[in-house]
Amino acid sequence: MSDRLSVFKTYKLYVGGKFPRSESGRVYEVQDSKGNWLANAPLSSRKDARDAVVAARKAFGGWSGATAYNRGQVLYRVAEMLEGRREQFVREVADAEGLSKSKAASVVDATIDRWVWYAGWTDKIAQVTGGANPVAGPYFNLSSPEPTGVVAVLAPQESSFLGLVSVVAPVIATGNTAVVIASEKAPLPALSLGEVLATSDVPGGVVNVLSGRTAEIAAPLAAHQDVNAIDLAGADEDLAKELEIAAADNLKRVLRPQAVDYFETPGTERLTAFLETKTVWHPTGALGASGSSY
């Protein structure tokens, strides 16, 4: 076989359905677990965070307005695309986390299964968390969960792919849009996930992926007045405290970091964490002699 120059991949951000470089023009070196150079990833600035929030806000109306069934189909399509890129992700996860090929393969399989699991929840979560409330009067009283809005997600630092999908999928499954900060040390699987999302019917801006220093990007997001919630999964104790204080300013919903085994099948906590319950009253009409008119 003749010597061939290998084609290196330029990892880029995923914002608003496009693949921009960082506005700052900066990159940083990403290394594998043994310290070998893997690639340069964009080192996002606060302006990238700001642009991502604008994109996420713009996408929110359409995504939250789509039917739950449609969102489920779109998310399932993402799983199909992930399956097609399975080998690439196995390689990236193996490099990022220092796993053997077979171990990495089981991580990627679990990740794709996780995505399918959450895709199935899109049109079921409302029945589980919402419902009809008994009231003393001629009214229907219905509670239904609604998406919170733009959610900033600090992806887990260690589990670069399974952990990432475990925190991103529940946020968008319920109709939120997300600004995701990839694992600082291992951002490559997250940046590649952007490429999957771009080719799988997920409208641009629903998920925005930023790579760089978690603390640097998270600070402006936590203080941002147009971000409605923040998932602190990827923050250490000190950073989480600092961000929670900043997030209190506009009463963001905050999901504190917690110890999670991402291989375990999750509950619905991450789905409900970014839902708000809306309750409506609707008259049933006069109650008849039998006690009910319906």
């Binding site: 700001r50 929030v53 402006p220 147009d226």
Partner: protein, 319 residues
């Protein structure tokens, strides 16, 4: 500084007849389109930060002609706009007022009442805006109605059909007649609708034509067509007012309108003004932005500078 344009002595009798006017306008140097756009683009790369940015944002807010020109305008909407012009950010009273509100002639009285006592001016479009396709008498009646209702400024549209057909004197006479109808109190802004003039040469000619006819302001566009204010055509008009003052001593204002939506864009225009026409124009008496959504972005940027946190559309009014 004179604010009304006399027939410019320095330019002699170029407006004496259609042929002398045409000879003069076509004798203006041609525009180097590539150079113009490159210059506008390069001036757009200036970095304006911290205190300079704060100054620019406040200046830009004070230059906004807050505009609503919809068929669906109601007195309530115009009053809301007036309130916003007077206190753009009710949570921060250090925010400057906008320069003016810009409405249709039938809404002038409502707008006048809404901004009474605040120093905010009321501008009214007139002369069969936005097409300008009506008889001169109708246009003048439109103007007189707006002036009688108390408009401080009149935004007229030129007859683009006549201009493109080369009947410059007709356009000229119309502007003169409208200027006369404005009387002594109302300032006249002349809209060229640069998006319909097709070439930069035409924009330069229209600028000179408008200034010769006594415009107090030359304005790019109505905001009703596909191409509105661009840095390049605004730069061209700024060059025209600079050269006009150099030749005649008469200063004319410039108003880009339409398509300017972000603070970043607005600041780029301010750089153009400073670098082309000069500091004398960095004042809302001589430079305006015709805009509606721009103001919200300026306010969000202003809040960001004040608090250090990014603001969002929940913290400004929905217009």
């Amino acid at each position: 500084m004179p604010t009304t344009a006399p027939t410019a002595r320095a330019l002699g009798d170029v407006t004496a007849s259609d042929s002398t006017l045409r000879r003069f306008l076509h004798g203006l140097p041609g525009v180097d389109a590539v150079g113009l756009e490159a210059r506008a683009a390069s001036l757009g790369t200036r970095s304006i930060k911290t205190t300079a940015k704060a100054y620019a944002i406040d200046l830009a807010i004070s230059m906004v002609d807050l505009t609503t020109l919809e068929g669906a305008d109601t007195p309530g909407k115009v009053r809301a706009l007036g309130a916003k012009a007077v206190h753009p950010d009710p949570t921060d009273r250090t925010t400057p007022t906008t320069a003016a509100v810009c409405v249709y002639p039938d809404m002038v009285a409502v707008a006048k009442e809404a901004v009474a006592g605040s120093g905010v001016k009321v501008a009214s479009v007139a002369t069969a805006f936005p097409a300008g396709r009506a008889a001169l008498d109708v246009k003048l009646a439109d103007v007189r109605e707006a002036v009688a209702a108390g408009a401080d400024e009149i935004d007229m549209v030129i007859d683009r059909g006549a201009f493109l057909a080369g009947r410059y004197l007709k356009v000229f006479d119309e502007i003169v007649a409208v200027k006369e109808a404005c009387g002594t109190n109302a300032r006249l802004k002349v809209i060229f609708e640069t998006g319909e003039l097709s070439t930069y040469d035409n924009i330069r000619r229209a600028s000179w034509l408008g200034m010769l006819a006594g415009a107090d302001f030359i304005k790019t566009s109505t905001g009703k067509v596909a191409v509105n204010a661009t840095p390049a055509n605004t730069l061209l008009m700024l060059e025209a007012v600079r050269d006009f003052r150099a030749q005649t001593g008469v200063q004319v204002g410039v108003k880009p309108a339409g398509g300017i939506r972000t603070s970043k864009d607005a600041i780029k225009f301010l750089v153009l003004v400073n670098e082309t026409a000069g500091e004398d124009w960095l004042d809302n008496h001589w430079f305006r932005f015709g805009a509606s959504s721009l103001l919200n972005d300026l306010l969000m940027q202003r809040q960001k500078l004040a608090t250090g946190r990014y603001s969002g559309p929940d913290y400004v009014t929905v217009d």
